[in-house]
């Protein structure tokens, strides 16, 4: 998405290091979704995707910590929410596998990453072994 521009506002940035931060992530995403006028279904999808990605950080990142940055974005006449989740963890060895339904190294449902991708309009995942993982999701207003 090349035409998107961040707002003049500073993005919300905070650490994801405790379980309570899951709730904070949902709250911030809900507030931004409402601010840009996402409908209830789209807001719910965005918040749920964010909840999955935040839990991934708590489950997989080194020291179980990472960061989230949330901002409003614009593209022509549409507004959206962009959330960037990053950690300095071990990285994802096999990104294709991690994005496949049912793949899990932890006995979970293995739906976190592929499920989150289905819930948003755009998701990019970058990861290099040893240098952490960054996942960016965007949800646009309809």
């Amino acid at each position: 998405m090349t035409t998107q521009a961040a707002t003049h506002r500073e993005p919300d940035v905070f650490a994801i290091a405790h379980e309570a931060d899951l709730i904070r992530v949902r709250k911030v995403l809900r507030a931004e979704a409402e601010a840009v006028g996402l409908n209830l279904v789209d807001a719910t999808k965005l918040i749920t995707a964010g909840s999955e990605l935040a839990r991934n950080i708590l489950n997989y990142a080194t020291g179980r910590r990472g960061r989230i940055s949330v901002e409003q974005v614009y593209r022509s006449d549409r507004r959206g929410v962009r959330a960037t989740f990053s950690d300095d963890g071990p990285g994802i060895e096999d990104i294709d596998a991690a994005l496949t339904d049912g793949f899990s190294t932890r006995g979970s449902l293995g739906l976190g990453l592929p499920g989150a991708r289905r819930l948003v309009d755009d998701m990019t995942l970058t990861s290099d072994a040893g240098s952490g993982t960054t996942v960016v999701i965007v949800k646009w207003q309809r």
């Binding site: 809900r30 719910t44 999808k45 749920t48 999955e52 979970s108 499920g115």
Partner: protein, 128 residues
């Protein structure tokens, strides 16, 4: 450890639990433990889990809900999840969470009727 995290109401032979608020994982697991214990302690024959006030159900919460229903069944009772919000239902389907095996109803009233049917079927099967 045995602290109650959610209020449980009893209607006849059925326990009614309304989940609400924003649930973190520890709370969800404490709820699971409490509800399983309540079924064992009260010998109730059914449980309705009302999720109409949950605005978000992610894969973790969904998985624990399914687990609670499975455990209630193992204890010889029936359980149903009622009141899933439309936006949450759409999200769960798109997430790909397998919920098809769960007994669900639109609201608590229909949930009670569903439990009644399930109990009757149970008895019937026992005679075969």
């Amino acid at each position: 450890m045995t602290e109650d995290v959610v209020p449980v109401m009893r209607i006849g032979d059925t326990l009614l639990v309304a989940l609400q608020g924003d649930l973190d994982d520890t709370t969800v697991m404490a709820i699971e433990e409490q509800l399983t214990r309540e079924i064992a302690d009260t010998s109730a024959s059914g449980m309705l889990i009302d999720v109409s006030r949950l605005g978000v159900v992610d894969t973790f919460i969904a998985r624990v809900l399914a687990r609670i229903v499975a455990m209630v069944r193992l204890l010889g009772a029936q359980a149903a999840v009622v009141g899933i919000q439309p936006a949450v239902a759409i999200t769960l389907v798109e997430l790909g969470v397998p919920m098809g095996h769960l007994d669900t109803a639109l609201n608590a009233e229909q949930g009670l009727a569903l439990l009644e049917r399930l109990r009757r079927n149970d008895t019937g099967a026992g005679w075969l």
